[in-house]
């Protein structure tokens, strides 16, 4: 792999099917980057969660709004950006679902899974104002 990151951009409509599609591309890209099966699954699930949130909260299931997923394959890491056209959110406002009082709440585990399964996780404001989730996974072994 060269030193300049390989870049793959996918623009999806706000549809249920877009979640699995993005997830599958994520798994495929992770495999190409040399991640093992366990990491491929984790990266796929992280993409699934990020796109699901863009679908539900960011774009509020409005089909015309776009979800943009960018994969940047660097030499030693994979960086994934998931951007929506919503109004964004702050990571500090997301309650920890592992706290006793949140344990029996149905929702609130997506961010936790993304944080657990990726090495770095952050939420920024996308250039058009929506949420931009940026998450990174480091390659454990160097390969080509």
């Amino acid at each position: 792999m060269s030193s300049k990151p390989q870049r793959i951009e996918i623009v999806l409509e706000t549809l249920l099917e877009s979640i699995t599609l993005a997830e599958e591309v994520g798994v495929r890209v992770a495999a190409a980057a040399g991640f093992d099966e366990d990491d491929q699954y984790k990266i796929g699930l992280a993409v699934h969660e990020a796109v699901m949130n863009a679908f539900q909260y960011g774009n509020e299931q409005q089909r015309e709004k776009k979800i943009c997923v960018i994969f940047e394959l660097h030499h030693e890491k994979l960086v994934i950006h998931v951007t929506d056209q919503g109004t964004g959110f702050r990571l500090d406002d997301v309650p920890d679902p592992r706290e006793d009082e949140n344990m029996l709440v149905d929702s609130g585990r997506g961010v936790l899974l993304m944080k657990a399964f990726m090495d770095e996780f952050d939420v920024q404001v996308g250039h058009r104002g929506g949420a931009e989730v940026v998450m990174t996974k480091h390659c454990r072994t160097q390969n080509t």
Binding site: L45, E49, R98, M103, L104, D106, S107, G108, R109, L113
Partner: protein, 113 residues
């Protein structure tokens, strides 16, 4: 992929054998219907065999929690049977293993109700 469920009653316990994915698009809504159906039919001891489940997203985890609450609110109990490594990991990361009664042996799980 997708989701499949079969149910059988064993000495008063309603057991669901679940196969596939429990996600927003796939198994999540079906699982909810299944539990409601069982409760309506008077079954409130429910055992979910997850050995065939290889993928759960946060919506699926939420659905399990929701089922747990609903069953409990009706005086019943939800227990889980045979989690594979991925599912075990998910319950560990989210600390949900602390609320569920989890078993590896069917007979033992049935007897525990």
């Amino acid at each position: 992929m997708s989701f499949r469920a079969t149910s059988r009653e064993i000495t008063g316990v309603m057991m669901f054998d679940l196969v596939g994915r429990i996600t927003l698009g796939e198994g999540s809504a079906m699982l909810r219907d299944l539990v409601r159906e069982a409760l309506r039919g008077g079954h409130n001891k429910i055992l979910m065999n997850l050995s065939g489940i290889d993928y759960i997203d946060s919506t699926g985890l939420g659905e399990l929690v929701s089922a747990y609450r609903l069953i409990k609110s009706q005086g019943g109990e939800l227990k889980l049977l045979k989690l594979n490594k991925k599912v075990t990991d998910l319950l560990q990361v989210t600390k949900l293993y602390t609320i569920f009664d989890i078993h590896n042996e069917e007979a033992q799980a049935i007897a525990s109700f």
